[in-house]
C-alpha cells in the first residue's frame, strides 16, 4: 500500500501549531500570563522527562520529582556559594549534572540488580520520600552548605538565572525557558528516532528478546534513566530560578504523581502529546483552583480515570490518530514519534 512519505502528520502539525502559539502568546498577554507560561514551560520539562522513560522505555518512575528537587537544590547551593551572573549558568549545569549522576547511580542500582516494572515505581517513590523527609528536617542552622542554608520546609532562597547584571524576567525569561523546552523536546525526539531509541522501544515490549538481538538492555535502561534524570533536574533548576525558591514539598507524594497523571492523560508514548497535555492541564488545574477549588481535584481525578479507562493511548494521542486516519489518510500502526524512521525506510524501499 503506498503511503505518504512526508513529515505531514497530526503530531507534527500539532507541534507547529503549539510552537506558533507559544511564540505569539507573550505578545497577547500580561506580565502574569508571561511569567505563568514560563513556569508551565519549566514544569512541562518534567512531563517530557517522564514521557521519555515511561513512554519510550516502559519505565514508570515516581522519582522524577526527586531529580527535580536535586536539580533545584544543587543549583541553589552552587549559585549561593559562587557569585556572579555567569555562574548562574554554571549552576544550571551543576544542577543537571547532579540529577543525571544520582539517576545513573539509582538506575545502575535498579537495572543491574534486576529490579523492573512495578518495583521501579516503588523504588523511585521511596527515593522521593527519603529525599523529602531528609530535606524537611534541614530547618536548623547546622544544615548549611557553604553559604547556602537549606532551611527545611521554609525553603531556600535562590538567585535567578541572569545575563550580565539582569536576572531573567518577563519576556526574555519566557523565551529562554521556551527555547530550552523546545530544544529538549527536539533532542528527545531525535534520540527516539536513532538506533538507540528504537532499541528502547523494543526493550519496553520484551527485554530478554531485545537483548538477544544484541542490545545491552541494562546499560540502555541506565542511560535513558540518567538522561531523564538530567531533564527532570533541568526542570527543577528552571523552577527554582523562576520563583527564587525551592522547598521539600516539590519532592512530595503529590508532586511525584502529578506528572504521571499529565502524561497518562496526554499519551505517554508521544513526547508531543505529553508536552501539550502537560501545558493544558497545568493551566486547567490553575483555572480550577481559582474557580472551583473544592471541586478542582475531583474533576481532575475523574478526567484521569476516564482517560485510563476509555482512551488508554491518551486523549491527545487518540486525537492525533483520528486526524491521521481520517484527514491525512495515514494508516495506523505507526507509533507517534516514530514517523520519521519509518518513512526513511519506506522512502528508500
Amino acid at each position: 500500500m503506498p503511503r505518504r512519505t512526508s513529515w505531514l502528520s497530526a503530531e507534527n502539525i500539532a507541534f507547529v501549531i503549539f510552537l506558533i502559539f507559544m511564540i505569539v502568546y507573550p505578545f497577547r498577554t500580561d506580565d502574569f500570563g508571561i511569567l505563568n507560561a514560563a513556569y508551565f514551560a519549566a514544569l512541562t520539562l518534567l512531563a517530557l522527562s517522564l514521557s521519555m522513560i515511561w513512554g519510550k522505555a516502559g519505565i514508570l518512575s515516581f522519582g522524577q520529582t526527586a531529580f527535580f528537587g536535586i536539580g533545584g537544590y544543587l543549583y541553589g547551593i552552587y549559585t549561593l556559594n559562587v557569585l556572579g551572573s555567569a555562574q548562574t549558568w554554571v549552576g544550571l549545569a551543576v544542577g543537571m549534572l547532579a540529577g543525571g549522576i544520582v539517576a545513573a547511580i539509582l538506575g545502575w542500582f535498579m537495572f543491574y540488580g534486576g529490579v523492573n516494572d512495578v518495583f521501579v515505581g516503588l523504588t523511585t517513590l521511596a527515593l522521593t520520600l527519603v529525599l523529602q523527609t531528609f530535606m524537611a528536617q534541614t530547618a536548623g542552622p547546622e544544615w548549611t552548605v557553604g553559604e547556602a542554608r537549606l532551611n527545611g520546609y521554609n525553603g531556600m532562597y535562590i538567585p535567578q538565572l541572569s545575563f550580565g547584571e539582569m536576572p531573567l524576567y518577563g519576556r526574555p525569561l519566557y523565551f529562554v525557558y521556551l527555547a530550552i523546552l523546545i530544544g529538549v523536546y527536539l533532542l528527545l525526539r531525535w534520540l527516539s528516532s536513532t538506533r538507540w531509541g528504537y532499541g528502547l522501544l523494543a526493550l519496553q515490549e520484551n527485554r530478554p528478546r531485545t537483548e538477544s538481538f544484541g542490545y545491552n538492555v541494562r546499560l540502555m535502561q541506565v542511560q535513558v534513566f540518567a538522561l531523564a534524570g538530567v531533564v527532570a533536574a533541568l526542570s527543577g533548576v528552571l523552577y527554582a530560578s523562576w520563583g527564587g525558591y525551592i522547598d521539600p514539598s516539590s519532592m512530595g507524594l503529590t508532586a511525584a504523581i502529578t506528572p504521571v497523571i499529565y502524561v497518562a492523560i496526554g499519551g505517554r508514548r508521544s513526547l508531543t502529546a505529553s508536552m501539550i497535555s502537560s501545558m493544558i492541564l497545568l493551566k486547567l488545574s490553575q483555572l480550577l483552583a481559582s474557580s472551583a477549588p473544592e471541586y478542582a481535584l475531583v474533576i481532575f481525578g475523574l478526567l484521569a480515570l476516564l482517560a485510563v479507562l476509555f482512551v488508554p493511548e491518551g486523549f491527545v494521542v487518540a486525537l492525533f490518530n483520528l486526524i491521521d486516519r481520517h484527514l491525512l489518510n495515514r494508516g495506523g500502526g505507526n507509533l507517534p514519534g516514530m514517523t520519521a524512521p519509518v518513512e526513511e525506510v519506506t522512502a528508500n524501499g
Partner: protein, 424 residues
C-alpha cells in the same frame, strides 16, 4: 532611590554573605522591574474598587484554619463596604485557594499581583507558604499582611506579620506555666522552621526563668504514630510538656497520649486556638493544655464581642472561630485604616501610613502596628482546657509589645530597609 528596596547599608552591618547574595539578587530583580511595574500600578491605583487580595488554604491539609480565615476576610470586606468602602471606593475581595500547596502559593501570588493588580495581599498560614511568596512580594514591592501566628523574626519592609509571635506568646507564658507546674520541661515540636524556632524560643525563656529543658524531640510532619515519643516523655517525667505540633497528622498525638494514660500539663502556642483540637477530640485528650492566644471563640463573651456570630453570618457552617480568624479580620481592617490615613491606595504611601502607627479595636481588644517591626502590639490571653474541654481563662496580658526584633536585632524598618528573617 530609597524606595527601591533595601539599600546595601541596611544589610552590611551584621548580615552574612548569604543574605547579601540573596538581597543583591532580589534588589537587582526589583530594579529590573521597577520601571515597568510602577507604570502598571500607577494605572491601576486610585480608581475603581480597592482590591483586597486573599490567598490561603480553603482546601488541603490546612483548610481547618484556611476556611476560618476566608470567612473572616469575607466578613471584613462586607463590613467595610457597608460602611462605605475604603476612601469611598468599593472594596472587592479577590480570593484564591492555594490548596495548602507552596507551589500554588507562588503561582497565585504572582497572579494576584500581576494580573488582578490587587492593592494588598492578605495571605498564608504556614511559614513555608509565607517564605515561598516573600521573594515575589519583595520583587513586586507589594504590601503583604501575614495575619497569622508564627515563629517570629521576619523583618521585611513589605510584610506586616500581624499575628502572634513568641514575644507575645512565649515571653509572658513560660514563667506563668512554670510557676504553676514546675521547672522541668520537655518539648516536642514539628520538625521544621516553626517548630524548631519556637522550641528555641521556649528553651531560651525556660532557662531565663530558672528552668531546664530535659528533652527535646523534633517530629517529621508526616508522622502520625507517637508511641515511642509518648514513652520517651514518660521516661523523662517532665513537669510540663511543650507541644509545638502542627498539621492534621500530628494532631493524632493527643488521643494517643490520652489512651496511653499520660498525665502531664501541656503548653503550646498554636493548639486549640487555630485548629480547635479541643472540639475535634473527645475529652479529656486535651485537658490541661495551656495556650496563649489573641482570640478564641470561647473568649468572645468575656470580651464582650459578637465576632463569632458576625463571622457565621457570612459563613453559617463554620465549625470554629479561632485566633487566626480574628487576626485575619484585624489585618484587613488595619489595612483599611492605613489606606484611609494615607488618603490613597498607592503602596508606598499606605506603607508609610501603616508605619505611622495604626490601631484597631478587634475582637481580641486593641491591636496596633509597631512601626519598627511591622508586628503588632496586642492583648494576649492565657487559657487552658479543663477535663471536659471547656476553655478557662487563666490570665490576660495586656498590650504585649513584640520588641525583640527591634531591641535585640536592630530591626527598624522605616529607617533601615531589610528583608531578613532573624533567629534567636
Amino acid at each position: 532611590m530609597d524606595t527601591n528596596g533595601f539599600g546595601q547599608s541596611a544589610v552590611a552591618a551584621k548580615v552574612s554573605r548569604r543574605q547579601l547574595v540573596k538581597t543583591s539578587a532580589l534588589t537587582a530583580g526589583a530594579m529590573a522591574l521597577a520601571s515597568k511595574i510602577d507604570v502598571n500600578y500607577a494605572l491601576a491605583q486610585d480608581e475603581g474598587p480597592v482590591k483586597i487580595g486573599w490567598l490561603g488554604d480553603r482546601t488541603g491539609d490546612f483548610s481547618l484554619v484556611g476556611v476560618q480565615k476566608y470567612a473572616a476576610a469575607e466578613l471584613a470586606v462586607k463590613e467595610l463596604n457597608e460602611k462605605g468602602g475604603i476612601l469611598g471606593r468599593e472594596v472587592q475581595l479577590v480570593a484564591e485557594d492555594a490548596q495548602s500547596d507552596n507551589r500554588r502559593y507562588q503561582e497565585m501570588a504572582r497572579k494576584l499581583l500581576l494580573q488582578d493588580k490587587i492593592d494588598v495581599l492578605h495571605a498564608c498560614f504556614t511559614s513555608a507558604g509565607r517564605e515561598a511568596i516573600r521573594p515575589i512580594i519583595d520583587q513586586n514591592k507589594a504590601i503583604f499582611f501575614y495575619n497569622n501566628q508564627y515563629e517570629g523574626g521576619v523583618c521585611d519592609n513589605y510584610v506586616f506579620p500581624t499575628g502572634c509571635v513568641p514575644d507575645h506568646q512565649v515571653v509572658p507564658f513560660m514563667p506563668a506555666v512554670m510557676d504553676k507546674f514546675g521547672k522541668r520541661v520537655y518539648t516536642i515540636a514539628a520538625d521544621y522552621n516553626f517548630g524548631q524556632l519556637t522550641a528555641a524560643w521556649c528553651k531560651k525563656f525556660v532557662e531565663a526563668n530558672g528552668g531546664e529543658v530535659i528533652g527535646e524531640e523534633f517530629i517529621p510532619l508526616d508522622v502520625s504514630q507517637f508511641s515511642t515519643t509518648i514513652t520517651n516523655i514518660q521516661n523523662a517525667a517532665p513537669d510540663i510538656l511543650i507541644v509545638l505540633l502542627v498539621g492534621i497528622k500530628q494532631s493524632s498525638f493527643y488521643e494517643q497520649k490520652n489512651s496511653a494514660g499520660m498525665q502531664v500539663p501541656m503548653a503550646t502556642t498554636v493548639n486549640m486556638g487555630q485548629a480547635y483540637e479541643h472540639k475535634r477530640f473527645p475529652a479529656p485528650a486535651l485537658s490541661n493544655m495551656y495556650v496563649t492566644v489573641n482570640f478564641m471563640e470561647e473568649l468572645a463573651e468575656g470580651l464582650g464581642t459578637d465576632f463569632p456570630e458576625r463571622v457565621r453570618s457570612v459563613a453559617p457552617d463554620l465549625e470554629y472561630v479561632g485566633m487566626e480568624c480574628a487576626a485575619e479580620y484585624e489585618g484587613i481592617n488595619m489595612y483599611a485604616l492605613g489606606a484611609e490615613k494615607a488618603g490613597t491606595t498607592e503602596k508606598d504611601a499606605v506603607r508609610k501610613a501603616l508605619e505611622s502607627g495604626i490601631s484597631f479595636e478587634g475582637p481580641g481588644g486593641t491591636v496596633s502596628i509597631d512601626p519598627a517591626t511591622h508586628h503588632t502590639v496586642r492583648n494576649i490571653y492565657m487559657v487552658h482546657a479543663d477535663e471536659n474541654h471547656n476553655i478557662v481563662l487563666d490570665e490576660t496580658f495586656e498590650a504585649v509589645r513584640p520588641d525583640w526584633l527591634s531591641a535585640d536585632m536592630g530591626c527598624d524598618l522605616p529607617n533601615k530597609p531589610d528583608n531578613t528573617q532573624y533567629e534567636p
